[in-house]
Amino acid sequence: MSEFEDNLWLAVVRDHADELARTERTGHHRRATHPRLLAGTTVGLAAVVATAAALLFGASTSPQAFAVTRNPDGTVTVNLMHPSGIAGANRKLAAMGVRAQIAVQAKTPPKLVCPGGTAPTITFDPASIPTSQELVIAAGQPDAGNAATLKAGIKGSGNTGPGDTSGAGNHVVRMYPGGGKIRTNSGADNHVARMYCP
């Protein structure tokens, strides 16, 4: 696709991935699924999920392509091994009531593998995502420093809140209500957090 078409697709994914991800198709029918779980209703579900397994692999198409983990401290870790895992990871995030989605983009590399064969990862605190907003994580081309990266931004209107990451290497993206933008430990541009190689 051309650059314009690639960029338009990115915009569509940024603004409509959530809506499309919740659109189910059975037979020849398309129908919207139930509205997303509200943050409050996910607490119980999250607790169940947290005690059930450390790694939640997709059960359908690509069991090795991704993992979504609810950590004991409430943060969520996403590992993405292959672009084919994006849809599954998004379903898992939605099922967990986490307002975050990985965006698909035309230039997503065919493999997302760090040196040593490990998967790129990102950990963030869902509780710090402003209520009216959604963390958008876009799989990007690997850069020189990290074998693969994810860029994160905020979908929705209004301020995204000042933030920082706690721990080393963008382990947790913190966002607070109020003015300001996301900031990461790596000094990356505002509205950008990177998936890193562990």
Binding site: E19, L20, A87, N90
Partner: protein
């Protein structure tokens, strides 16, 4: 069309997008001279499609026909705004400004549609319905069935318009010769 039975329709919509966005952009490139206009109208069409993908029913027609139906509405709305207020771009101003490379790319697409634009100009003696039929089938590469779905008319009506339009164009062409 590949179905995504395991979850959302994002992957399916991506397939629709990749297969058709170039044709949709070309549709607007035949109508506009400004790359930003082509970009905004294409974006408007795609965004509307994404927002209503749950309502798309492939039993009623192909995704291409469905997209061109949306594109036609976007164009009609845009023309109405231009006529009414000369301010249509304000409505589309939510879309991002293009990078230089994208402007070049869309300018090339506009140039590439010159022949199609000339054909549409030659069709000025046809009715709007006949022009639409000619464009969708002969320029946008839709099948008559898809074109009928895009225009919301029975296939027989589309075939009749197409036949009448081609006959008139052939007649006109001979006169020009």
């Amino acid at each position: 069309m590949r179905r995504n039975l395991h979850g959302g329709a994002l992957a399916e919509f991506e397939e629709v997008y990749r297969s058709n966005v170039g044709l949709v952009a070309a549709y607007f490139a035949r109508r506009c001279w400004e790359p930003q206009e082509v970009a905004d109208l294409t974006s408007e069409t795609i965004v509307r499609a994404a927002g209503s993908f749950d309502a798309f029913d492939c039993r009623r027609g192909s995704a291409r026909a469905w997209l061109f139906g949306i594109a036609a509405h976007v164009w009609a709305g845009y023309c109405a705004h231009v006529t009414d207020s000369r301010d249509a771009m304000v409505r589309l101003a939510g879309y991002r400004a293009l990078e230089t490379s994208e402007i070049d790319e869309l300018a090339a697409k506009i140039d590439a549609q010159q022949a199609g634009r000339e054909l549409l100009e030659r069709c000025s003696m046809l009715s709007a319905n006949e022009r639409a039929a000619i464009e969708l089938v002969d320029l946008a590469d839709l099948t008559p069935k898809e074109a009928a779905a895009a225009l919301g008319v029975p296939r027989g009506v589309l075939r009749m318009r197409l036949s009448r339009a081609r006959t008139r164009l052939r007649k006109e062409y001979r006169v020009d010769e």
